[in-house]
Subunit: 299 residues, 2 copies
DNA sequence: GTTCCGCATGAATCGATAG
DNA sequence: ACTATCGATTCATGCGGAA
């Protein structure tokens, strides 16, 4: 048996159904795999082994949003729609694993709708622990002016766990001391990195790696970063630095990351770059194609 | 009757019970008043006229926090404790008024407690509209670390209203436009300084007068403010810029602002500076004394 | 090669209009 | 009365073309 076959067999043991029925599967030397599954989320989740995933990170379609692509879910039906998925996610997650849910309630009839807080309550009744709520403070938010509200500049990143003793590698997300570091260096987007690299003689930023190992501190529970702006090929729910941060925080190398609404594949790309196995699910074949392209470029 | 007596009588008409039983009362020429009432919140609220307050802004004792001073409210009893107060606040608020509640759930037994989201649900059942949730993103929040979580870098600023047609003066909180984008490649470090101040959408703490004559834009629903640096005389729940922002946004001159847990008087000081009437309530005589001192210094 | 400028476009929301 | 659709509003950002 040659090396490739050995790797394949090794993966098969862990995820037999997935690896025999993926719409995209890349296995690197060393056995690291990246899989994309096209189809209904609940159905494809049933193929995944119980107690096998270290981190679930996803941004499901928000209520009434993305109607064009996903059909849209009515706010009043949102909990009912998501709860069975949450139950299935709990099945596949390891006991020390973490589930990060990116979500925000919309304004309905002049009021903030309660489907998000209703979902928190409902998930707790299904045994999920609501351990933390991170905030994504968006550097630039959608414009708009209304008589009774301003633009939405933040989203929720709800953390759920099965056990109080979940895995957390806090050292992996430490940031350099100082305020400027939290607002800029901590969650650098690719563009920011380029911008900082091109800034010569401005005091800092020429080589960010110089800061590694210096006076580092732990971050807090606010992520301050810009949404990925108008990429014409794909529109992503969040920038790659977001899954990057949570993957470093909540997983080890060779762990498995799952995004059941993977969209254009941002989570998969981040996982691959960090040397984690990943599984991405999406109902739309077009998105699976886009995600595959991005993975191949970044392979 | 002299001028002072005329003013006094005028105020009496509006708030007879308060003005005859305040623990501190300052009436300026023009009739603007600042009152402090010491005593149990519910009891003192009953002295306030129905439909008389334009803005309620407060940071009640968080569950189990400030135990030394307030006795602490157990998380499980929080809704039960606050709901009668919320009902009374709804009585005193004008139909076009706004209630801003600064609150954050604490972590209990490794989980975020649900008393805040339970309170939102309970207040809606009492007729309050949950119209918006602003976030206070704390600038310069100190690093901190627990086994399962990072330091809290944000708090909720829940907005409740009685009517969908509440008063809102959006122009009063406009901030300078981020025209750094046009010149972002030149003079990078200076531009970055300006960028970080303007892009976060609050516009606090910097010399906005430099921007007079330039275009102003509307902010978003994230307030990016530093907590008040440790004052040895008093510890305030929030910096003065926080009530300042909401008072400008939700009131006109000569309106009445209420803080039923006024503590060291930050809300009262902000209201006074902006030419608004204010009523502050606190159960602790020591806090009333501190608030009085601050008001006299800033009078 | 740089710098500058114009322009399209986003997890949006409200109010009015139409069925 | 209740739902569906559409236009107006708003601004940070990347990209592409021009100087």
């Amino acid at each position: 048996m040659n090396t490739a076959e050995t790797i394949y067999v090794e993966c098969m043991k862990q995820f037999p159904a997935i690896l025999s029925d993926s719409d995209y599967l890349d296995v690197e030397l060393g056995g690291l795999f990246t899989a994309l599954l096209q189809g209904d989320c609940l159905k494809r989740l049933s193929d995944i082994e119980t107690d096998s995933i270290s981190l679930i990170l996803t941004s499901p379609p928000y209520a009434d949003q993305r109607k064009m692509t996903y059909g849209g879910i009515r706010p009043d039906k949102y909990v009912e729609w998501f709860l069975p998925i949450a139950v299935e996610l709990k099945r596949v997650l390891r006991q020390d694993g973490t589930f990060i849910l990116n979500i925000k309630e919309k304004a309905v009839n002049g009021e903030r709708h309660t489907y998000v807080i209703d979902l928190i309550k409902a998930m707790r009744e299904k045994g999920w622990l609501w351990t933390e709520e991170y905030i994504w403070h968006k550097k630039n938010s959608h414009p708009g002016k209304w008589p009774n509200r301003f633009r939405d500049g933040w989203e929720r990143l709800l953390q759920f766990n099965i056990s109080k003793k979940f895995f957390m590698n806090q050292e992996a997300v430490m940031i350099p001391v100082g305020d400027w570091s939290r607002t800029r260096l901590a969650h650098l987007s690719e563009i920011d990195k380029r911008r900082d690299d091109s800034r010569v003689g401005s005091g800092f930023g020429k080589n960010i790696s110089n800061w590694i190992g210096r006076d580092m501190v732990y971050p807090n529970n606010v992520l301050y970063l810009a949404p990925e702006a108008g990429n014409k090929k794909h529109s992503a729910a969040f920038p790659e630095s977001l899954p990057d941060w949570f993957i470093r925080l909540f997983t080890n190398s060779n762990d498995v990351v799952l995004d059941p609404f993977v969209g254009s594949g941002t989570t998969s790309v981040a996982a691959k770059r960090l040397g984690r196995n990943s599984i991405g699910i999406d109902i739309l074949a077009e998105y699976i194609d886009i995600a595959r392209e991005r993975l191949e470029i970044n392979g």
